[in-house]
């Protein structure tokens, strides 16, 4: 192998590791939902190329109210699904949609678009 082959090989491998780390590596702690007077733990989630924030931390046993606002035209994002709660909602473009959940058990519950491309996690703490 010549020099150019070695260079391409090393760059390729570094790039692969970089990509693996970037997409699969540990992500930051997520945002904590605020607890409101109404007794709800609330968070606003923007749907645009993904969920912002995509990690929501809440406490067990208190109702959760998530407000989704979709600003993403692609039809992939038109529905949000909480598989563990058997709950789903259509998200019309540009409208706030409220999803209410009652997490009884601590754990980590994913929520995704219907095709599983956009992903977020609801982390329920004790």
């Amino acid at each position: 192998m010549g020099v150019s082959q070695w260079v391409v090989t090393i760059i390729g491998l570094l790039l692969s590791f970089g990509i693996a780390w970037f997409f699969w590596g540990p992500k930051k702690g997520g945002s904590q939902a605020e607890v409101k007077d109404s007794g709800y733990q609330e968070a606003d989630i923007l749907v645009k190329g993904g969920y912002t924030p995509d990690v929501i931390v809440v406490h067990r046993g208190k109702p959760v109210r998530l407000q989704f606002l979709r600003e993403d035209k692609s039809s992939c994002s038109e529905m949000v699904v909480f598989p563990d709660f058997e709950k789903s909602m259509m998200l019309p473009f540009g409208k706030k949609v409220t999803v209410e959940l009652l997490p009884n058990d601590a754990g980590s519950y994913p929520f995704t678009c219907q095709m599983g491309m956009y992903r977020g996690t609801l982390i329920v703490k004790e």
Binding site: Q5, G12, F23, K27, Y40, G49, P83, P92, M115
Partner: protein, 767 residues
């Protein structure tokens, strides 16, 4: 001036910041003097207030809203036609058709543009393939270079406009450190474009002039094909949710209500519980309620599947979305907005369509790692081809990487189950079968045993008095009088049959003292000073009553499918009263079909063995579990499961609830307005057992469709990826072009969608 007219409607767009919640604002508004109604819907940023202008004003309400932390954006006062005011139940569905339509049209425009630019792009990329072009723009000529230069500029709007969503989608994804379909396409088409630009502008940097080829065709054709695929997907997706749109379309927009003696036409959302609603012939019923005046026939086929109109008179229930046929009547609203039976059905279908089937979870896990994995594969493919591939290795490596990125779009995989599920569950709803979740659908496909409750499921559930057999010195009238009297306090369905029968024969009832119901046995009490026992054989045995030849009569009656009940007076057998329930017209037919589908059919009943067997024989059921106490029904289902069977329990939902829950799939057979909806996995809104047949057919058809899609998507990726990476090249010399990859990718998505749409033509069929 009329009071109703004096009230003012006030609608405003508001913005609720984080410090206030809708409920608090509503409560605060309602606590104000003069405010009669306040609805705040944060989802559509609207507040809707009805107030008495003599007590308060718009300004006061606005001030109050501001004080609560809600920003008031604009307002419309006195809008009588509050078509779109807050709390509208289904904003999404009503807007969807337009939203979908506009998305489809925009994608189609993008496709036409990309397709148009693709033609000159292909011509200049491969001039050798086109005889006329070959002579006009020969390879290596300055004319060809200039033609390619022009095309290079033309491809920019294709990428920016037609393919813009790939780049914005990729960027938004990258911000979340996630990769999606857009990431793959955007990387692929821009890699091809950049390579072409370098080849065009600085051909000198390539060691071999043959490498300085342009691949603008990859950019434009891939964009065009993928955009076309997306457009077809949008259109097909709209079709798959047709069922819900149909259901929502059933509810009329307005209702005529009587307020303060005046008839007003108002939006259905403004109808409140207690309103008296007027319905004329040909009108749809707006909300659920109870008829208070007038009679009519109402077509309830949309909810119950019953094709004959149902006659309605005061005291009877009417349901939102049904059609009034003949007369005019007034009814009192009992359930409005999201509480109506129709709204519940819509919500249930919607939830089910969005739910996951267990098999999908594996797909979810795969797609989470899929896209970054493909990018890494593309890079590694590049490296391997660059290092070990044939010369010019630059080109081979680039083709392999771009092809890999484009062919591996995970769309087909992601859509495989949701598309079929949405269509299948919608199909169920169209046929009066409400499937609660994708999981129920998946299990229903694998059922091998169907347990049918007898009363109300196989039979009509409306037993009637058939025989009265007195013994010895007792007369027919006497035992009917005593038997019917003691049953006055009973809630057992058979008691009703005896009471009705006795009334028809003009029997006068007498007082009962010390009435007591013994579950699973019968009743006891004191009538005219005599101790009376009335119930089944178990009761007589328990009390040690000698039955003489009564048992022969009982056996004969039971063999005829009737239920005999023994009457004992002061410890002496007095006679038998028998009732019978008619078998539903199509029960036998449905059971035959279930058996043809390879299912074992079991009958479960609290009735005695002989009667149960007689009914079972009539309808063709082979296995009978009789004399089962209500509380033991679930236990019997569990025993069947212990035999390794996948069991569906079909019951009318009230006393069968534990058994419905215990079964792998609980199927409630009812009217669709029942609480039964809550207890079951599947609800049949038509009362017929044929629904069970259809439900299983739908689940089988849907799951078959899901497996086909998953198989197709899996094979496509499993085969496409290695071929794109060039695994066949060393053996067969086959290397895919990025154009073929784009076509394959668009085709795979469209195939999945088209296959799911085949389900729309599904019709439950007679076997």
């Amino acid at each position: 001036m009329n009071k109703a007219n004096a009230l003012k409607h006030f609608e405003t767009r508001i913005w609720l910041d984080n410090s206030c919640s809708a409920v608090i604002v509503e409560k605060a508004l309602l606590s104000m003097s003069g405010v009669l109604k306040a609805v705040v819907n944060p989802a559509i940023s609207k507040a809707y207030v009805v107030f008495d202008p003599q007590k308060t004003s718009e300004q006061v309400i606005t001030q109050k809203l501001e004080a609560l932390g809600a920003k008031v954006l604009d307002s419309h006062q006195d809008r009588q036609d509050c078509e779109h005011h807050a709390h509208h139940q289904t904003p999404s569905e009503e807007q969807n058709p337009n939203e979908e339509g506009s998305e489809y049209r925009e994608l189609m425009r993008k496709w036409w543009f990309a397709a148009a630019i693709s033609i000159p792009t292909i011509l200049v990329s491969y001039p050798d393939l086109f005889p006329g072009v070959k002579d006009w723009l020969p390879m290596g000529s300055p004319k060809l270079w200039w033609a390619r230069f022009v095309v290079a500029w033309l491809t920019i709007p294709v990428m920016v406009w037609s393919g813009g969503q790939f780049f914005t989608g990729m960027w938004e994804g990258l911000k979340h450190r996630s990769a999606n379909m857009h990431t793959l396409i955007a990387t692929g088409i821009s890699a091809a474009w950049l390579y072409s630009a370098v080849a065009l502008l600085w051909p000198g940097i390539f060691p071999d002039p043959a490498m300085a080829e342009v691949y603008y065709d990859v950019t434009t054709v891939v964009t065009a094909l993928v955009v076309l695929g997306m457009a077809m997907e949008v259109r097909a997706k709209g079709r798959s949710s047709e069922a819900i749109k149909k259901l929502i379309g059933l509810q009329p927009k307005t209702a005529h209500v009587l307020r303060d003696g005046q008839e007003l036409e108002i939006s259905v959302d403004d109808v409140v519980v207690g309103d008296v609603v007027i319905v004329r012939p040909g009108e749809k019923i707006a909300v659920d309620g109870i008829v208070v005046e007038g009679t009519s026939a109402v077509d309830e086929s949309m909810l119950t599947g019953e094709s004959l109109p149902v006659s309605k008179e005061p005291g009877q229930e009417v349901f939102s979305g049904t059609l009034n046929k003949t007369g005019s009547f007034k009814f009192k609203a009992t359930k409005v907005q999201q509480d109506t039976a129709l709204a519940n059905i819509v919500e249930m279908v919607r939830q089910a369509q969005g739910s996951r089937i267990p098999v999908q979870r594996i797909v979810d896990k795969v797609s989470a790692i899929f896209t970054p994995g493909v990018i890494i594969l593309a890079i590694l493919g590049y490296v391997i081809w660059y290092d070990f591939g044939p010369q010019p290795s630059y080109i081979y490596a680039m083709i392999v990487a771009v092809t890999t990125l484009i062919i591996a779009c995970p769309c087909a995989l992601g859509m495989a189950t949701p598309m079929s599920l949405t269509t299948g569950i919608g199909k169920g709803a169209e046929n009066g079968i409400l499937i609660r979740s994708g999981e129920a659908l998946q299990i229903a496909e694998r059922l091998n045993t169907i347990v049918l409750d007898k009363t109300g499921t196989i039979t009509e559930g409306k037993p009637s008095l058939t025989d009265v057999i007195p013994l010895g010195r007792f007369t027919e009238t006497e035992i009917l009088r005593i038997g019917a009297s003691i049953e006055q306090g009973s809630e057992h369905p058979l008691a009703g049959a005896i009471l009705d029968g006795a009334k028809d024969q003009g029997v006068t009832f007498v007082q009962v003292v010390g009435f007591n119901a013994i579950p699973g046995h019968g009743v006891e009490g004191v009538v005219e000073g005599k101790r009376v026992l009335f119930g089944n054989l178990k009761l007589m045995r328990k009390e040690g009553i000698p039955l003489a030849d009564l048992q022969t009569h009982a056996t004969r009656l039971a063999d005829e499918g009737k239920t005999p009940m023994y009457l004992a007076i002061d410890g002496e057998a007095a006679g038998i009263i028998a009732v019978a329930d008619t078998v539903k017209e199509d029960s036998a037919d449905a059971i035959t079909q279930l058996k043809k589908m390879g299912l074992e059919v079991v009958m479960l009943t609290g009735d005695n063995e002989r009667t149960a067997r007689a009914i079972a024989k009539q309808v063709g059921v082979d296995r009978v579990l009789a004399d089962v106490l209500p509380q033991d029904k679930a236990e019997n289902v569990r025993k069947l499961q212990a035999e390794g069977k996948k069991v569906a329990m079909v019951g009318d939902g009230i006393n069968d609830a534990p058994a419905l829950t215990q079964a792998d799939v609980g199927i409630a057979i009812g009217t669709g307005t029942d609480v039964a909806i809550e207890a079951s996995d599947i609800t049949l809104i038509k009362g017929s057992l044929k629904g069970v047949v259809s439900a299983i057919q739908i689940s089988r058809a849907t799951m078959r469709n899901v497996y086909q899609n998953l198989f197709g998507a899996f094979i496509y990726n499993a085969a496409g990826l290695p071929v794109a990476l060039g695994i066949l090249y060393p053996f067969l010399g086959i290397l895919l072009s990025p154009l073929v990859a784009a076509a394959a990718m668009a085709f795979s998505s469209v195939t999945v969608v088209a296959n799911a749409n085949r389900l729309r033509n599904f019709k439950p069929k007679e076997l």
